[in-house]
């Protein structure tokens, strides 16, 4: 299923930063597939949401990019910049705090 965009929007940057902190560098399609694989196809990251988020992170100086010729085409790789490496820690903590509050608000039992 494609996840509700509104739910995804607030955490999309954190997801991207976290994936890049674990994978050094990735290209757009690879990120969508990684999300699909990790969530066993439950969450689908749409291109219309992914690329604006990637470019915003790049414009904010959190990502570095490099274009390379791969398999007869030009591929743009995204990686964390120095600022991005610092920001990913903050973003993850923010997300964890948010999830904890959400669990309390929705009376969910902690599953981790």
């Amino acid at each position: 299923m494609a996840v509700n965009n509104e739910l995804f929007k607030g955490t999309l940057q954190t997801i991207i930063l976290n994936l890049l902190s674990e994978n050094e560098r990735m290209y757009g399609y690879e990120i969508t597939q990684k999300v699909k694989a990790i969530t066993k196809g439950e969450l689908l990251l749409k291109e219309g949401a992914l690329y604006p988020a990637l470019h915003k992170l790049e414009a904010d100086g959190l990502l570095d990019t490099a274009t390379e010729v791969v398999g007869n085409r030009v591929r743009k790789y995204y990686s964390l910049s120095k600022s991005g490496e610092k920001e990913v820690v903050n973003k993850l903590q923010e997300a964890k705090d948010f999830i904890a509050h959400l669990q309390v608000l929705l009376n969910l039992k902690s599953s981790f």
Binding site: Y29, A59, V74
Partner: protein, 227 residues
């Protein structure tokens, strides 16, 4: 399996037919579609190329490809816009405050020393030079104009004309000889607008230069593949 050049050309033509003509936008969409097609072909080797492309395009949904391209275009614009404003506001950092104040003071004093006509000649000559530099620095082969990066990065230069008009407006709006605490307000307003104009010009040129460098790098890779 990797798609061959002919298949990549087909995808590129398909993207162009849908109205996405900027090369850097095409390149990013192309890599995404080609990666998806390659994966589909690995999962199902009997699937033919056209069917794999159609499946991929359909997976974007009705507005998918447009949303994808619009997202890319907007984010490239936003990237250069942020870059421009970062350059512009960097001049207000503590390192340059003295230089800024000195420039405003220098232009203010110059107006007092020169007659209005001579100062106006200096101003117009300066502005024409700025205009000439900006036009000269952005003259590039037509291929550059097919890149969203180039267009976005250079979009601030045409607005220079607006800042010239603002400076002129500032000169005319304040009455001649009007003073506050012995400061000639018109001369101060003109000094401020000229300094702001210079800062704007500096930020616009620096943003344009970065976009030209990025576009040049993309063109080299693009030529390597498709020429």
């Amino acid at each position: 399996m990797n798609l061959n050049l002919e298949q990549l050309h087909q995808i590129r033509d398909l993207i162009a037919k849908r109205g996405f003509l900027e090369v850097d936008i095409q390149m990013e969409i192309l890599d995404h579609i080609a990666s998806s097609v390659e994966e589909k072909k690995i999962e199902n080797p009997t699937l033919n190329f056209d069917a794999a492309v159609n499946e991929t395009i359909q997976s974007f949904g009705v507005m998918g490809l447009s949303a994808f391209a619009d997202g890319l275009t907007n984010s490239i614009r936003a990237k250069y816009s942020r870059l421009f404003w970062r350059f512009f506001f960097s001049a207000f950092g503590y390192k340059y405050v003295l230089l800024l104040c000195f420039s405003i003071f220098g232009i203010y004093k110059m107006q007092g020393l020169l007659t209005a006509n001579v100062f106006y000649i200096f101003l117009v000559t300066g502005l024409l030079c700025v205009f000439g530099i900006s036009v000269f620095s952005t003259i590039k082969p037509s291929l550059y104009k097919k890149f969203a990066s180039f267009k976005s990065g250079n979009s601030f230069l045409p607005l220079l004309g607006g800042t010239i008009l603002l400076t002129n407006f500032a000169m005319n709006i304040v009455p001649v000889g009007y003073t506050i605490f012995a400061i000639n307000v018109q001369q101060l307003v003109v000094s401020l607008s000229i300094v702001l104009f210079i800062l704007y010009f500096n930020a616009a040129i620096r943003t344009a230069k970065i976009s030209i460098m990025e576009t040049k790098s993309l063109i080299e890779k693009y030529r390597l593949l498709y020429n």
